[in-house]
Symmetry: C2
Subunit: 434 residues, 2 copies
Amino acid sequence: MTDTLIRNRPCELSAVDAAKAIAAGQLTSEGLVKSCLERIEERDADVQAWAWLDTAHALEQARAADAGPVSGPLHGVPVALKDIIDAYGMPTGFNSTIYPGYIPDADSACAALIRKSGGIILGKTVTTEFANRHPGPTRNPLDPERTPGGSSQGSAAAVADFQVPLSIGTQTSGSIIRPAAYCGVVGYKPSFGEVSRVGVKEQSGSLDTLGLIGRSTGDVELLRAVVTGIPYEPVAPSGFGITVALCRPPEWNKATAEARADIEETAELFRAEGAEVVELDLPTELFGEWLNDHRRIANFEASRNFAHEKTHHADKISKALWEGRIVDGARCPIEDYIASQRKAERMRAWMDERFEGFDTILTLSTAGEATVGLADTGSATFNSLWTLLYTPCISLPSGKGPAGLPLAVQLVGRRFEDEKLFAIASSLEHALKG
Amino acid sequence: MTDTLIRNRPCELSAVDAAKAIAAGQLTSEGLVKSCLERIEERDADVQAWAWLDTAHALEQARAADAGPVSGPLHGVPVALKDIIDAYGMPTGFNSTIYPGYIPDADSACAALIRKSGGIILGKTVTTEFANRHPGPTRNPLDPERTPGGSSQGSAAAVADFQVPLSIGTQTSGSIIRPAAYCGVVGYKPSFGEVSRVGVKEQSGSLDTLGLIGRSTGDVELLRAVVTGIPYEPVAPSGFGITVALCRPPEWNKATAEARADIEETAELFRAEGAEVVELDLPTELFGEWLNDHRRIANFEASRNFAHEKTHHADKISKALWEGRIVDGARCPIEDYIASQRKAERMRAWMDERFEGFDTILTLSTAGEATVGLADTGSATFNSLWTLLYTPCISLPSGKGPAGLPLAVQLVGRRFEDEKLFAIASSLEHALKG
């Protein structure tokens, strides 16, 4: 199977297999990148995942990789960056008209770490405006009438459509997990603080988290090692001698019946494989206002972080961003911001302690399948809590909805126990396929 | 007194008085900026506080302020930015040769907030290389043989020397409090998270904090309101019906006898004014390794944050930065980084709880007077703990050392209680002058 892909459709190879094939001399980076570019050429009019792509520049990087020695675990493998993440010599556009012709002088930290590991920066994928809600043109590759989700919309769509094996996005509310779920790929939001945000446009310093998207947990794990700057040592699957906490947050009834049924089936699968499944309730006195706490923190910070755009380019900011985060955040008294920050810290401490009693949390990735239309990138209701809690999250495709589009479940780990989460996700991924 | 300064030496006015005089039509921004520029002209060869200054551009901003209506509490008042903080149209140099000719496309958030409040960005003040240890040419304005401290060296020296009333710097270890103390001015490190770091070169995302420098607590408080994006409402002094916790950290014996005597005198002053003074001991089991915890967090993050410079410009990085943070951080296993992050969180929770028992902590700002020579910007031993703890800190000049240079004390507040800290600092400042 892998050999056939190497010969005929390298763009469909996993990143792990592609890196192995390149290191073994069975495939060139140029061959892989060409295959990705052909796929893009074939599909771009429908999917529109790319904000910037220079075919010649991509091939030049690939040929340089082929000419040199294997420099790291990602040698010769292309990665896409959400268009709020800088890469030297490539324009960053932010899906805004405020920065025409902006070409960064420096790589973001993740771009430099990718290059250092031998990876290719294939191009820049479409973002919603400044990673907020105003959408770009990207369509869900599985159904062009539907949103791919947001804000990391091009990053998810390009990976799902075999245009690139790996991509990087960001999550302030649900911007990694939701598009990954909607497009049927694997999304990973690391523990807050583990991956450098240097060279990434900031929305909320307390919440913004770089996230990784791939077509398997193994591929995402490889990219995690690279951008975290740690040795690449794939974890062994955990197996099912574990305790899983099924968490139905208060917004449970906003999910579709099919999504709720899908997660119950996943819980059943865990049980059938031997895991213990317990219930996790979030106490109302601490978590009852979490959506509001998340909103206050995100908006207070965003209204200051966008001070340049607000002061010098107010007319070029979308209504969605202006009337959403910016006005609301400017009106938020600092006392309210502080109260929510303090509450978030208590929530994090509570959750950290509760993790003594189980190995992972099983919850929804989204309310259901990707919604129809491109104007609304979907709801972050099932994601923002975990962003606020700083916990690592992995979204895995777990079934199909009534329209035949992917449903997904979200596994949540204890903060800073990302490797354990990958071990569990890898076992669940295998079981879901079986 | 104020009237005389308005007429003869506006550069010596406090920011609060200057803003009032401008709003009242007694002084023009152009007059104030000209006076600052004359002072710089007179002193720059000795002090060398500026990395970039364009006289014509500064005067142009001042004339624009004079031509328009009063737009905010800082209207017409010049502020200096440490040369790792972006301002639109002004080069940022980072005291490095890696970014020649880099002129940012956007204001940092603080620069935009200053402009929105009517303030003038006078120019860029000297930083150590990337706010680390490799020094710039700045001399202590009170003794040219001595360091002004670092890393915000130009920011502190320019304010102390009446070249500008206010400046902004950053602190990852002790880079605001130490230079402010060495130069005899007021330094303020806000609660972590309150001031946006957008457009500021990052060293450690978990520690970097914007800090403000002025010649009085009142001036710093004005700038705090502006860069925090909150209404400017000066706090009333607390008076002395308060409990002060004198904290002698484990490194106490590294301070000079004079510095230790000075802080005991300040404690005595608090008592004489009516405050209760208690002792605060830091338990060894939690705080015994804090220097190491700070180092691991700062270095692990810096070695990733400088991935661009490390990957593409290794030959242009100083030995101090390379052999200090970068190599050490690259070698730090992620498990050790996580252990220190978890410990830091426990320290913060412990400290937050302890603040139930007192109103402020009184501790040292530095080990003593500014040290002789420019190669070493001094030790952050008495600062890094409070950076790690996310608490607001204010350094106040409190006496003179054996060489006649300033000694300073540091007041520390509970995280997110910055206004209370200003109220106490204002009372102490008054008592110290009395």
